[in-house]
């Protein structure tokens, strides 16, 4: 496949129903923090974007959404070209102004503090971080509590940002301000809204 066709192909085959399906998975994930929700490979985008990341982008982004992308994504003309062609997103270099952040290298990502947390009057004016990871079978098991969780949920993303526990505690402490996380795995996604309380599960 040539670079040009890579950019123009791989969008949703049914824009309306595919995006509805992905959105419902996202809504389910956000309403049930840590729940791993399976999704089909509905969109295919050039590397480093995975199918799930591409599907989330095609569902949530348009020219009203400003998106901060990390270096590996920015470095790929094909990936950026795909995002622009299929979503019309506005790429921003300033994470504190972004509605969304697209992160392919989770361990190297900037701190949560770099992104918009909203204001106390408009806590919704915050960045939603989309973290692309390998799977939900990571070594570090996290115990989740909070709205959307009946008792406890165990969550084990394969990658986490540096100093995640400290960063998350600070994010939780800033409530109602804060960032929300969406994890894009292989064939599945999950979310951590700012309300979730996280502790490390004892082995």
């Amino acid at each position: 496949m040539s670079a040009a066709t890579q950019v123009f192909e791989g969008g949703f085959t049914d824009t309306v129903l595919n995006s509805q399906e992905i959105f419902r998975a996202l809504m389910d994930a956000m309403a049930n923090p840590g729940r791993v929700v399976s999704v089909g490979d509905l969109a295919i985008a050039p590397s480093p974007l995975t199918s799930v990341t591409a599907s989330i982008a095609a569902t949530l982004f348009d020219h009203d959404a400003s998106v901060w992308c990390d270096k590996p994504i920015l470095a790929s003309d094909d990936a950026i070209g795909w995002l622009k062609f299929h979503t019309g997103l506005v790429v921003t270099g300033n994470p504190s102004e972004a509605d969304f952040a697209l992160i392919s290298d989770v361990e190297a990502m900037p701190s949560f503090d770099s992104f918009a947390k909203g204001t106390s009057e408009y806590p919704d004016r915050s960045t939603t971080l989309i973290l692309q990871i390998a799977d939900f079978d990571g070594p570090q098991k996290l115990t989740l509590k909070g709205p959307g969780i009946k008792d406890i949920e165990v969550f084990a993303p394969s990658q986490l940002p540096k100093m995640f526990m400290e960063q998350w505690a600070a994010n939780r402490g800033a409530f109602p301000r804060g960032v929300d996380l969406i994890f894009a795995g292989q064939g599945a996604l999950a979310a951590l809204p700012r309300t979730t309380r996280i502790s490390k599960k004892e082995a």
Binding site: V16, Q20, F23, M27, N32, S120, G148, F175
Partner: protein, 293 residues
């Protein structure tokens, strides 16, 4: 002449759905906080459920089964009209059974049958701001929410007690969500407030004219405001439903004649019919009435 208008699946264009969907995700992440959204004109009037309709239209898909109620009933005119709208523009299966529905759009009631995980309850909201009648200005109420300054609301409720001996708010009774935001549950009778607490279902609220979306995720703490010496209490009815004999359901008073005769029946028509189908009888239901003749 202009070409006949064609509409997208579920009426709304995709860009509008994306905008609403982004607002819904934010609303779920900040329970009880009213997310502003660019509400659209809908083909039904503002105040007639445009917020709920926009939320439902943004989330609904072919795998859903939709139930629409108004005053707890599936057969009230506005419920019929909204259900017919979604049948037409989204061609989704519809039901009157609470247990069969994946999405329930409601005005003024929460079903009596306990909701289950995986169900979404979409409320139509006229005035989303619980502080609006204490302070008409959005610029002020927004500050009050930001500063968690809810004293005025308690003062109002307490004034009721001083004047009437009761909290005189019977519907749209304010709640506090997850210990942070004071929220308007929409004009449901306060009878329904306890059902919001720790519900396994996702609750979404859409206010079209006022351009706000808010949410309560499943298993979230929802507490009705009250005082130690005047705890929150719900309305109780002195008699059971005249049709299905249910005790502890919310009843509507139906006027039978112009001499003061009336009867009380379940406001939730599905709940009442299911009970009757299961053999429950009230004092005015068919067999007893025949026996009396």
């Amino acid at each position: 002449m202009t070409e006949l208008a064609t509409y997208n699946f579920a009426y709304l264009d995709e860009q509008t759905k994306r905008m609403i969907r982004r607002a819904i995700l934010k609303a779920i992440a900040i329970p009880g906080y009213q997310v502003p959204f660019a509400s659209r004109e809908m083909p039904m009037p503002y105040g007639w459920g445009t917020g709920g309709v926009q939320v439902t239209a943004a989330i609904i898909g072919p795998k859903d089964t939709l139930k629409v109620i108004d005053q707890g009933a599936d057969d009230t005119t506005n419920a019929v009209s909204i259900r017919a709208f979604f049948q037409k523009v989204a061609n989704v299966p519809v039901t009157t059974r609470t247990t069969e529905a994946t999405i329930i759009q409601t005005r003024h009631r929460i079903p009596e049958t306990a909701l289950a995980a995986g169900q979404t309850l979409v409320y139509q909201v006229p005035i989303p701001e619980p502080l609006r009648f204490l302070e008409p200005r959005e610029t002020e109420t927004r500050k009050m929410h930001a500063l968690e300054e809810y004293g005025l609301m308690h003062v109002k409720l307490y004034e009721d007690i001083a004047r009437h001996g009761h909290i005189a708010t019977t519907y749209a009774y304010p709640v506090k969500v997850e210990g942070r935001y004071v929220m308007d549950p929409s004009p449901t009778p306060k009878f329904d407030n306890p059902k919001m607490h720790n519900s396994p279902a996702l609750q979404l609220f859409g206010a079209g004219r006022e351009k706000r979306i808010y949410a309560i995720p499943p298993y979230t703490e929802v507490v009705s405001l009250d005082f130690e010496d005047h705890p929150f209490e719900i309305q109780t009815f002195s008699q059971p439903c005249a049709l299905c004999g249910a005790k502890g359901s919310y009843l509507d008073e139906v006027i039978l004649d112009d001499k003061g005769g009336s009867m009380f029946v379940c406001s939730d028509t599905d709940f009442c019919e299911e009970r009757q189908a299961a053999g429950h009888r009230g004092e005015l239901s068919a067999p007893q009435a025949e026996a009396a003749e």
